[in-house]
């Protein structure tokens, strides 16, 4: 795995913090894809950060950022990741709070926000597909596809919480080893 400079890590989290709409899930999807492109984080470490973030109190995506930042550059990476992803967005949310009545009535802002939300949804599904495709060993797709599809059904149809789904996946992973 590549070991990037602090400025590069800060820049990525800063950028994702101000350009990704729709909450934590699209943010994680984008970060997963960018880590993959840059080779900053192994799939196993990504998975540990993803799973443990669900067990951490507070906003899961921030725990995820702290964990991935920590894996990439230690404590300074964790600090840079959390500060970069939250400070500009916090300034923006204060501004939006002040201008709330205006933004809800301003059609141009609505049009751009709707377009960004549609892109966030496309990004999430694209990143999910990319994750399964790139992390599956050649010719061995049954385990990844079964676990991914099972997780989708447990969350979407059975309405299990993400924590319960991750717990179930961990159990499956424990007994159904990678071949």
């Amino acid at each position: 795995m590549a070991r990037p400079r602090l400025a590069a890590v800060t820049r990525l989290f800063l950028r994702v913090g101000v350009t990704v709409f729709g909450g934590g899930d699209p943010t994680i999807a984008i970060l997963q894809r960018e880590f993959y492109r840059r080779e900053w984080l192994s799939p196993e470490k990504f998975a540990i950060a993803f799973g443990l973030a669900r067990l951490t109190p507070g906003t899961n995506v921030l725990a995820f950022c702290a964990a991935t930042g920590w894996y990439i550059l230690g404590l300074r990476g964790a600090l840079a990741a959390v500060l970069a992803i939250t400070i500009p967005a916090s300034v923006l949310v204060v501004w939006l709070t002040r201008a709330y009545d205006l933004t809800t009535r301003y059609p141009l802002a609505q049009s751009i926000a709707n377009a960004l939300l549609a892109a966030a949804v496309g990004t999430m599904i694209g990143a999910a597909l990319l994750l399964v495709r790139t992390q599956s060993k050649p010719g061995r797709w049954i385990r990844p596809v079964t676990i991914s599809a099972g997780a989708f059904l447990l969350a979407f149809v059975a309405k299990l919480t993400p924590l319960q789904v991750i717990g179930a996946a961990a159990m499956v992973g424990f007994f159904w080893k990678d071949s």
């Binding site: 894809r33 995506v61 949310v93 709330y100 549609a118």
Partner: protein, 171 residues
Amino acid sequence: MNVVVLYLLLVKATLTSFSGLASLPMVRNDFVVRRGALTDRQLNAAVAAGRISPGPLGIYVVSLGYLVDGVPGACAGWLAMITPAFLIIPMLRFLGTRAEHPRARAVARAVLFAGAGLMASAAVPLARDAITNPLSLAIFALSFVLIASARVDSLWVMLGAALMGLIAFQF
């Protein structure tokens, strides 16, 4: 309201919840019901501002802090939002080299694949809100293809979507 009290009330809410908006019932109880520091309308505005801004949904506590005590309140809200995130580091340190064990790696990969399924399931309700006309459908499809191909930087995807929203407004 004293900014330290504000921070402690907000951090109590964030430390006892496990997702961005899960802290909302406790926040409403403390700020609207018990202390009368906010109205329901202000609380709704804070949540709405959090939803229309980039970043995590839990960012509404920054907006809420601002409504209670201006910029110092927003800083208290921001600190309350980020404080719990660092609890993950002791957990990672505890895992340490245990995570390299083959069985642990198999579990991690299973969690990774479950993450893909969870991402897709979280996208469905968002899609119902986001894909409402042919333009949003086109933006969705284009973003999906560009991201799944792994060749285009996500920044360009987002900027392109914003530009398409801007152009659509002009026509």
